[in-house]
């Protein structure tokens, strides 16, 4: 199930909220546990078993690690086993076919064609953080199975993040206040996300699909840029919209999740971009891979190697395909260059550093969005005039006219301007404007979902 669907908004959510607020507090986690499984199992009911296995495994590992706290070696053995099993599940379901295809000379390696369990990359990272945090003493052991299960399968962030670490929500699992302002801020945040996903991302996504489908050789330079800029906007509004909806839904249920995006496209360097893009993933890799590997504490050479490892993994995390690995390494290279000398140069001009960061990110999205390496190369080539059908064609004029107003709105929406204006609004004006905006976005989004011919889910590879 996805949030931006009529089923979720007009059946699942009203039922979940109604029962949640009608039952006594002590039953709320049980209710959430049940509806989380319904949410998760909606598309692939069989995988509920996998989810329950994952919950039980990490729950048991947490108990054991806590019991062996005084015996470091045994605790470590339990932790290692648990992490290995978690990763093995992820590798099997997500990467087995990819490995099998690339090692097809081994006779018994045959692709199985299993459907990827939705959100497995998100929730595996999420659950794994728990035994690690318990081992490190960063979190207390969770003795309540239902509370732990509620954390692992919590539907708001289950399928597309943010990746919530156990220690960040541990206390909220035991106690959540009924706070009207928190619920209202949840509503506002959900509406912002809904609008981003349904009205902006889906809209501009159709433009990207048009250019992606254009036969090789018919792309012009301007067309190739327009197409990939459309994808740049689509993935940001889609992904950050999804995170906004998750954070908003979390608040409606009394949870506070950490932020996942912070206006990434206003960055002045790639280093800054990755502090603003998918923050929960970069934080996860920093805390559980980069720093344990030694981070920047073991000399420059080791630090650069660590960057390479982390970004190769980050790329691969996004999907079992070479282009995602390439995309990760692409960023490793830029981050290394910045670390070595570029960052200092970038400080000299704000304008040039903004342009530089945007161009690097946009070209990066071409690597990300086009899976076939030949096609990807042709597309990036066309962006820089290699094998393109001229500079500009009538298609660009048509689509610029048709999407012009939407593009303008989206570019502004990539900046903090909107939030700034809302903050500056006099209280009385805000008291009227906000409910009106909520109604408007809800109604227009509903119209787009009812006539929903185009509503893709981009993270089925994650």
């Amino acid at each position: 199930m996805v949030f931006s669907s009529l089923l979720f908004m007009f059946i699942y959510l009203p039922v979940v909220l109604a029962v949640y607020y009608l039952v006594p507090s002590k039953w709320r986690n049980v209710w959430l546990f049940i509806v989380n499984l319904v949410f998760y199992g909606w598309g692939e009911p069989v995988y509920i078993v996998l989810m329950l296995f994952s919950i039980t495994l990490n729950y048991a590992a947490g108990l054991l690690i806590a019991r062996f706290r005084d015996d470091g070696r045994r605790a470590k053995r339990v932790l290692t086993a648990c992490v290995v099993i978690n990763l093995a599940l992820l590798v099997f379901f997500k990467y087995y076919d990819f490995i099998a295809e690339n090692l097809s000379f081994i006779p018994f390696m045959k692709p199985l064609g299993l459907t990827l369990p939705i959100g497995i990359s998100f929730y595996t990272f999420q659950t794994m953080s728990y035994p690690i945090d318990v081992y490190r003493g960063d979190a207390d052991v969770q003795k309540n199975y239902v509370s732990f299960g509620t954390f692992v399968a919590l539907f708001p962030q289950l399928i597309a993040g943010p990746i919530v670490r156990y220690k960040d929500v541990a206390s909220q699992l035991a106690f959540r206040a009924n706070d009207r302002e928190q619920f209202a801020s949840g509503v506002r945040r959900f509406i912002v996300g809904l609008g981003k996903k349904v009205l902006l991302a889906n809209n501009i996504g159709m433009l990207w699909d048009t250019y992606k489908a254009m036969p090789a050789g018919s792309l012009t330079v301007a067309g190739a840029w327009l197409g990939i800029i459309a994808f740049t906007l689509q993935i940001y509004f889609d992904f950050s919209g999804y995170s906004d909806m998750a954070i908003g839904l979390g608040r409606m249920l009394g949870f506070e999740f950490l932020e996942n995006f912070n206006y990434p496209y206003i960055s002045k360097s790639i280093t800054e971009f990755w502090r603003r893009w998918h923050i929960s993933l970069s934080t996860w890799f920093r805390d559980y891979v980069y720093i344990p590997l030694g981070g920047n504490r073991k000399g420059l050479a080791r630090q650069l190697l660590n960057i390479l490892i982390v970004w190769a993994l980050t790329g691969f995390w996004h999907g079992a395909s070479w282009n995602f690995l390439l995309w990760g390494l692409y960023y490793a290279i830029w981050l290394t260059i910045e670390k070595l000398f570029l960052l200092k140069l970038l400080d000299r001009s704000r304008i040039i550093s903004h342009i530089y960061a945007l161009v690097v990110v946009i070209v990066g999205w071409a690597l990300f969005a086009i899976e076939d390496s030949g096609e990807c190369l042709r597309y990036v080539g066309a962006m820089f005039g290699v094998g393109s059908a001229g500079l500009i064609g009538p298609d660009v004029l048509y689509y610029l006219r048709s999407y012009g107003p939407s593009l303008a709105v989206m570019i502004v929406a990539c900046t903090p301007l909107g939030a700034l204006v809302m903050k500056k609004l006099p209280k009385k004006a805000a008291a009227v404007a906000i409910p009106v905006l909520i109604l408007a976005v809800l109604a227009i989004s509903t119209a787009y979902l009812v006539d929903g011919t185009y509503n893709p889910f981009l993270y089925f590879r994650f």
Partner: protein, 372 residues
Amino acid sequence: MKKGAPLAQILVFVVFIAAFAVLNLVTPARTFSEQENRYLAAAPKFSFAKLFDGSFTESFEKYVTDQFFGRDLWVAGKARAERAAGKTENNNVFFCADDTLVERFSEPDSAQLTANVDAVNALAANTDADVYLALIPGAAAIWSDRLPANADCADQLAVISEVYSRTDATTIDVAGALEAAADEYIFYRTDHHWTSLGACYASDRILSAITGVGGKAPKSFAPKTVTTEFYGTAWSSSGATWIPPDSIDIYVPQGDAVVKNYPHGTEEDGTLYDMSRLETKDKYSMFCGGNTPRLHVDTGSEGPHLLVLRDSYFDSELPFLLGSFSEIDVLDLRYFRTSVADFIRENGVDAVLVIYSVSNFSTDTSVFLAGR
């Protein structure tokens, strides 16, 4: 913030989702959407097998979307929102000048197109009857000046010349006739079909190619308007409810022509004009009573026996051909699935007309049957 402010925000949201949740629950399901001209999804039957193969949840989501309370208004609202956002198209229909809606024509799949040309060539080789091919361009080509500037739409005339250069059949330049009359009401503004007037202009080229004697000019007919309330398929799929309806004209009275229809294989009485269809949404199906595998017309005139392999554009062309043939058989290969060559032999057909819109000829997967 004032204490009342968050409450207003919460209420707007909660009331909105709760209200539609309840409305969806209590309103009965509709089976057919007049506005969209299609059957709506019904509630799927539950079974564990369907749950586990994912088809239950998929159908259920379709059901929720199709049966959403006030669906028609939402669909129309979305089209208006798209227009307000500066879009010049919605659901692959262009908003054009002069209250015209034109469906996008996409670059055809060359394999399908080649297969269909090959099928026509095979038919020409299989039979002694003369085979004619007529491809009908749509409004996207003939009314291209009404499209939004630089509209991203493939070239139908180029497809026609490519097909004509590769076929062994005698080709008929329908496009030329339509282009010459491009400033007249030759296509419906809300539908992909041509009007009776467009069909009349085309009949001149068709008849002179097959019989050597051209058709009559439009002004020699006394057309009769049978409806002014025709909302076509482009209107339905675009959601552009602000566009006024079309009217449908009849040029040729049925006269002495006797029409037999074979909707289920056996002979029934047919008609050139099924007036009862004007009470439905799909008013174009008034011509010949809509899709059917086979029609047989005893025209009451003198002339050769014509076989037509066609799509629905021909339904409004048929009346203009009555005076020039003794018998006309009309087959729709999507439903009539036996050998065309056998049919020609058994029925003593003299000439075969293959007539399709460019759009259908480049996508239809049943044209291959012409070669069987």
